[in-house]
Every structure is written in C-alpha cells, then in structure tokens.
C-alpha cells in the first residue's frame, strides 16, 4: 500500500468545480499552503476548480492561502466560524459585494459537526447557540430540563490538510497546535489529501502516536519546507 504522490499538483488534480473542500488549519497554524496554491495554479491555468464551498475555521488572511483562492474568484461559499483576520480584505470585499456566501457556524459546533460527519452521527444536540440568531430554523429539544439545538453532520467531497509525519499507508502525526481541525476533516471527507513535512516507511511512526490512522487518508505528498501562512502574510506576500 502506497498512498504517496509526487507533487502537490497531482495530489489535488481531481478536485473539480463545485466541490466542497474542508481545509485544515486555524489561521496559519496547520494551513496546507502548498496544496492550496497548487489549486490556485490550476485555476489560473485552466479555469478550474471554481464555484467551491470551502470549510475552514476562518476565511483567509492577507493574500495567500484561502484568501488568495477567494481573491482569484474560486470560492462560492465559505463555511466558517470567524471570517475575520489581521488582513481580511479578500473575504470582506467579496462578501460586501455579494459575491461570496457565508454560513457562519459557532466554532465548537463546526468542529462537532465535522466530527459527526466522520463518525456516522447524522445529528446531535448542543447547548451552543440556543436562543440566538444562529439557531434560527433549527429543531430544539429539552433534555433534563435544559434546552438544546439540533445540529447536522458536515461532510465534504475533499479534505486538504497538513501533517508533520506521514507513512506511505497514510498514518499521520501533526505539529503542535497545527493539529486543530485536520484529524476531524480527514475523517469527514470522501477524499483526504495530505501534505506532510516528511514521509516515512510504515513502522517508523509509533502506533501510540498516530493521530490520524491511515484509513482516513487517500493520498500523501511530501512538502519538506512548507510555507507558513502567518509568516507569508507578515512578509506581505500575495499569491496570484
């Protein structure tokens, strides 16, 4: 079993127009910049993929990563909890112009909905958002005297995430708080694409330390010197 592919471009080659894509990362921490930029490269070369639904905690920062996808006009809908950032202009401009849709989801509900998508739980109840605008139209129910909102699972066509180590069977570890949404997204997508700092042979990751077991992973590409969104943003880099 060998899930490795040669480069980011081939890793994301089957992502098509109209797909929903979960993108790992919280701000720049854990953001798979090279995979995102490979998608942007293909869009500039071919006009695809476009009309995408992107699921991420945020909505991009500066002019790189998800922000650059939005700038390029590839994104039809953002599903996120916090579409603000140090430099939120890409999303802000499109949103105020009515050119991008927003589904705003409380952060813990976003995480749990993705977790439910991977775990085969079609719906669950949470106290979060009860009585607020974000619960409007959702079923509610009382349990043990307290009111809860029913939330549905969230799945996607594709997840693209960043890992620290991968083996060629797709077992993954993450780096520090770069873990965030990625293990959840890996389980909730039909196809999970991983950029890892290093790909090792099976047996070289301690089974106790695997965070994402390989059965969730479709393909893995090694990106040894990955760029960091926050550093790029601070350096004023624009990817286009």
């Amino acid at each position: 079993m060998d899930k490795t592919v040669a480069d980011p471009a081939s890793a994301v080659a089957d992502i098509a127009d109209g797909m929903s894509i979960m993108i790992g990362g919280f701000g720049g921490s854990g953001a798979p910049i090279e995979l995102i930029h490979a998608l942007i490269d293909r869009f500039h070369a071919t006009g695809s993929p476009k009309n995408l639904t992107i699921i991420n905690n945020n909505a991009g920062n500066g002019r790189i990563g998800i922000a650059a996808m939005i700038d390029a006009g590839m994104v039809a809908t953002m599903v996120c909890s916090f579409p603000r950032s140090a430099d939120p202009r890409a999303f802000t401009e499109k949103y105020l112009a009515g050119e991008i849709a927003l589904e705003l989801v409380p952060q813990g509900t976003l995480a749990e909905r993705i977790r439910a998508g991977g775990a085969g739980i079609p719906a669950f109840y949470t106290p979060t958002s009860y009585g607020t605008d974000l619960a409007k139209g959702k079923p509610t129910a009382e349990f043990d005297g307290r009111m809860y909102v029913q939330e549905r699972w969230l799945k996607a066509d594709v997840a693209i995430i960043k890992a620290e180590l991968a083996d060629r069977m797709g077992n993954l570890t993450y780096r520090k708080a770069g873990r965030n949404f990625s293990p959840l997204m890996a389980a909730a997508a039909n196809v999970t694409i991983v950029q890892a700092r290093q790909i090792v042979e099976p047996g070289n990751i301690d089974p106790e330390q695997v965070i994402t077991p390989g059965l969730y992973v479709t393909r893995v590409v090694e990106v040894a010197d990955a760029q960091q969104e926050e550093a790029l943003m601070r350096a004023g880099v624009a990817y286009a």
Binding site: G118, A119, G120, A187, G203, I205, G214, Y216
Partner: protein
C-alpha cells in the same frame, strides 16, 4: 451426500473478495479465520473494535501481551503501520463508513438483508458487542455461515425469527454451499457447489433463490 465446504473453506472463499488495501473488520469467532486466507500479493488492513488498526497474527504461546488483544480477547501482534485509538474513535471508523468490508457470522439472514446473530432468544445471557454497529458501518457487510443449522433448517430465510442485529444490512452471504448476494430484498445466487443442483440448493434455503445470468461454480481448494 453433498460434501459441503468446511469453515476454513468458507473463510477462504470470503477472503478472495477482499481487495488489496481494503480495511476489514472480522467478527469474533469463525470470521477471524478469514484473515488466514488473504490471497498472496494482497495486503488487507484489519481493524478491531477495541482500538487497533493493522494488527497481525497471534503471537507464539507464552509471548502474549494482554494489552494487545483483538475484540475476541485473543492476543494479537502488530504489523508495520499499525495504530491505536480509543473506543469512540474506533466506532467512528465503523459507523462512519470507513471500513470497506465487515464479515460476520449469522444465526439467520433474511432475503431483505436483515441479520440475526446476537441472541437466540429470551433465555440465557444476552450479549451484543459491536455487531449492531458493524452492520451499519462497513461499505460491504458480508456473512459467512453454514447454509443450514445443525438440525438441517435453513439459515437463509424470508424473515428472521430471532432478534435482529440489523435491518437490511447484509449484501453477500458465503455459505457452505453457495455464494449469494442480496439485491432489492431478494437472494441472488452467484455461485454454488457443482455437485449440487439448483433444486437441491433451493430446498435447503428458506426463501427463493433468484438466478441472474450464469451461476458460477463455487471452487475452493482443499484446506
């Protein structure tokens, strides 16, 4: 007298349908035997409910590590690329549809795909384990079983008489006499032993066997 397949031969036949790279859960007991018959050159990855992916064979006697067991509480070993996870993560894999195949035993299988394999009725101690989760998780849920009970009664039936494990969940049954798919709530005969006529097989089956196209010969090596 028809020479039916042994359990090992049923397990062998089921193993032939497991693709290279498949993630597989084998029910405790008889289904565990399927792992022994992986075709050469194919690498299946076995999952056990208690939190291991990619475990291997039993260790030599005396070398057991009792923290390294499968769902049947038998000692196992690890293969390279194994991982550990807790029970909720383990059943997220099951329920979330991430396993390619689950192979289970059966008391009864109905033509609707209903399975009864956990309770023989109100007497005795009920015990369900992970069976009810497995039948609603794996992409393909197969059963391996003798074709009839010890008393010679059909185990493939129109409707289960025993408490159900799951509704409309089984898609293929490997028996001691035949390979049968369940499609549109009907048994579709795919393979049968050559020494047995369709009528003879039908007589041992509790619901009608549909024939679509040719019936393959169920050929299994001596084991």
């Amino acid at each position: 007298m028809i020479e039916k397949l042994s359990n090992a031969q049923i397990a062998w036949r089921a193993a032939q349908d497991i693709a290279d790279g498949a993630y597989v859960n084998l029910g405790i007991g008889f289904p565990e035997m399927v792992a022994k018959f992986q075709p050469p050159g194919r690498e299946a990855i076995f999952h056990t409910e208690n939190g291991i992916l990619n475990f291997g064979e039993a260790p030599p006697e005396g070398e057991e590590d009792w923290d390294l067991i499968n769902a049947g509480k038998k000692a196992v070993t690890l293969k390279p690329g194994a991982s550990f996870f807790h029970h909720a993560d383990s059943f997220a894999m099951v329920r979330g549809g991430h396993l390619d195949v689950a192979i289970l035993g059966a008391y009864e299988v109905a033509e609707t795909g209903d399975l009864a394999n956990w309770s023989t009725g109100p007497q005795g101690i009920p015990a369900v384990g992970g069976a009810m989760d497995l039948v609603h998780g794996a992409k393909r849920v197969a059963v391996i079983t003798d074709h009839v009970t010890r008393d010679g009664k059909p185990k493939l039936v129109k409707a289960c008489s025993l408490p159900l494990t799951g509704v409309a969940c089984v898609t293929r049954v490997y028996t001691s006499l035949a390979v049968i798919d369940i499609e549109n709530a009907r048994f579709v005969l795919r393979e049968k032993l050559a020494c047995m006529s369709l009528d003879e097989l039908q007589a041992l089956t509790g619901a009608e066997l549909l024939v679509q196209g040719t019936i393959g010969e169920l050929i299994v090596p001596e084991l």
